[in-house]
Subunit: 313 residues, 2 copies
């Protein structure tokens, strides 16, 4: 049994796996595909496998993606072979919700201005700061991550509106609305926060009309996927002050090109797709992988966190 990691965990994490599975041969190889053809299982962040790689990896039966999004996997090649795919859905919720709250609170409490005044050695007490308390958030994608964001926002006294395909109830949302009826609720939102995955349904879900109907004071936060909105539309909404601010962790093109206007816009925060980062990330991924692997070694049964390749999540 050979398992290929296409990234390199810390030594103690490698040792943890070797101790748990002395009978397994582990290879930890970043950007090195020499062990593809003999691997039975591949553990990847999901961005480094091509259809040709799948062809070479003729023995592989299970791909474990240590990420949430699977849109960069070669779907056709994987489905044709019937390869099992699982992810680590759920482990992003704590760091991502903390990132979302950090960015939101920073803007409300004027931290970028405070930092700037410090750089200029300026004791400036005339600062516009406001509060989360008593405001309203619309959360696109109230799943595990969105619900955790909702829970924290509610602790701050924020009214939460969840928005999903069906409009069916979701945790920590004071009310719900379906994608179809989102225009009715957008005018109430002080913040529009997306943690939606990239699927056929969510691609370019937000259009010009959505930004036009938002409050001019609205803060838009995209922590899901960059293709939720065509970039030209979002850029225009920000340049025309149809909304006040955007915090973007994801982009249509990543890395964001060096000459992109976002870099120098006063009403945009560019976060380089790191909102889920945490010192605890790989440990938590292994907490999911290890029990799954134990089960797999016994009866090759389907692991938890199975991904439906057709639905896309």
């Amino acid at each position: 049994m050979e398992i290929l990691f296409t990234f390199v965990p810390r030594q103690d994490q490698q040792q943890r796996m070797k101790n748990e599975f002395p009978e397994v041969d582990f290879y930890f190889l970043y950007r090195d595909k020499t062990r593809l053809s003999s691997a039975d299982i591949i553990v990847t962040y999901g961005e480094d496998l091509t259809a040709e790689d799948i062809e070479v990896a003729e023995k592989v039966k299970w791909i474990m993606v240590a990420s949430a999004g699977i849109e960069k996997l070669p779907h056709q090649a994987i489905e044709a072979r019937g390869i099992t795919v699982s992810n680590v859905k759920g482990i992003h919720k704590t760091p991502m919700a903390e990132s979302a709250l950090a960015h939101l609170l920073a803007l409300k409490r004027a931290l970028p201005v405070i930092y700037q005044n410090q750089r200029n050695q300026q004791w400036e007490r005339k600062i516009r700061s406001s509060e989360l308390n008593g405001t309203t958030a619309l959360i696109l994608g109230p799943g595990a991550i969105g619900a955790e964001i909702g829970r924290l926002l509610q602790a701050f006294g924020v009214h939460t509106i969840g928005c999903n395909r069906s409009g069916a109830e979701a945790s920590n949302m004071d009310e719900m609305v379906s994608f179809e009826k989102i225009l009715e609720k957008l005018p109430e939102a002080d913040y529009v926060i997306s943690v939606l995955p990239s699927t056929d349904e969510t691609k370019h879900l937000l259009k010009e009309e959505h930004f036009q109907i938002m409050k001019n004071s609205a803060i838009f936060m995209n922590f899901g996927r960059g293709d939720l909105v065509a970039e030209s539309i979002l850029l225009n909404a920000l340049q025309e002050n149809e909304i006040a601010f955007a915090v973007l962790d994801v982009f249509e093109q990543e890395p964001l090109p060096v000459d992109h206007p976002y870099w120098s816009m006063d009403n945009v925060v560019v976060s380089p797709h790191i909102s889920s980062k945490s010192g605890k990330y790989v440990d938590r991924a292994l907490d999911i992988f290890i029990p799954n692997l134990k089960k797999w070694l016994i009866d090759q049964s389907v692991p938890t966190n199975l991904v439906d390749m057709e639905k896309g999540y």
Copy 2:
């Protein structure tokens, strides 16, 4: 009946008072003491009255301080005359707790680094970010503000240790410790957050030994009063990396002198005593003042939020 405000509320706030009390003459005069001698009540932020002013204000029977700290009032002159003093204790808790969480989350989620990389147009995903979840905070002064900070920290999965004079139970604290025994608990704290007022007991409460026993990774946050620790001691602890970081909203000398080392230190955030600021501040102060004034006009009875000038809060 004449009431002198030594600051100038917004027009709508002035009108609100005039409507409530048509029989009262209101004066809103910033840095203008011409109406002192005829004022029956003074409303002040508490930093602009001298012992001589109290002498001139011979009719005044009630001073309402639209702040929490009263250490800059001329205590002797006020006590000698038996003037009633009240404050707006309680209205700071929401903005101050949001500020504390904003600064803490910003550091944990690496926002200063993210902002800096954006200024340099750098897409840099190798960022050290961590989580509040699973950490421990020691809160000096678990009163109204401290308890609100504790409540929010607990929502993030932070263990809270409250610290007050007696060690008696306080809201939203997982455990308590007295001032006297603080050295026993400091080594456990990832964050030491003070919202203590300035009193004889809290002045220079933290000494060299306290910073030496803190974790080297500890974040110290002072949102109370600057004299909690002698500045030379705090500066030294930061320069010697006995603690990792300080977020300071208060200082021994305010404004912080232009040539002070804090301004340019990488491990210090200088916040110019604004953590309680909020667009809702004066409205909330009036929510306390107006009912008190109604009662006062009937029977000159003691208002709520009475301050004990001897205790200092």
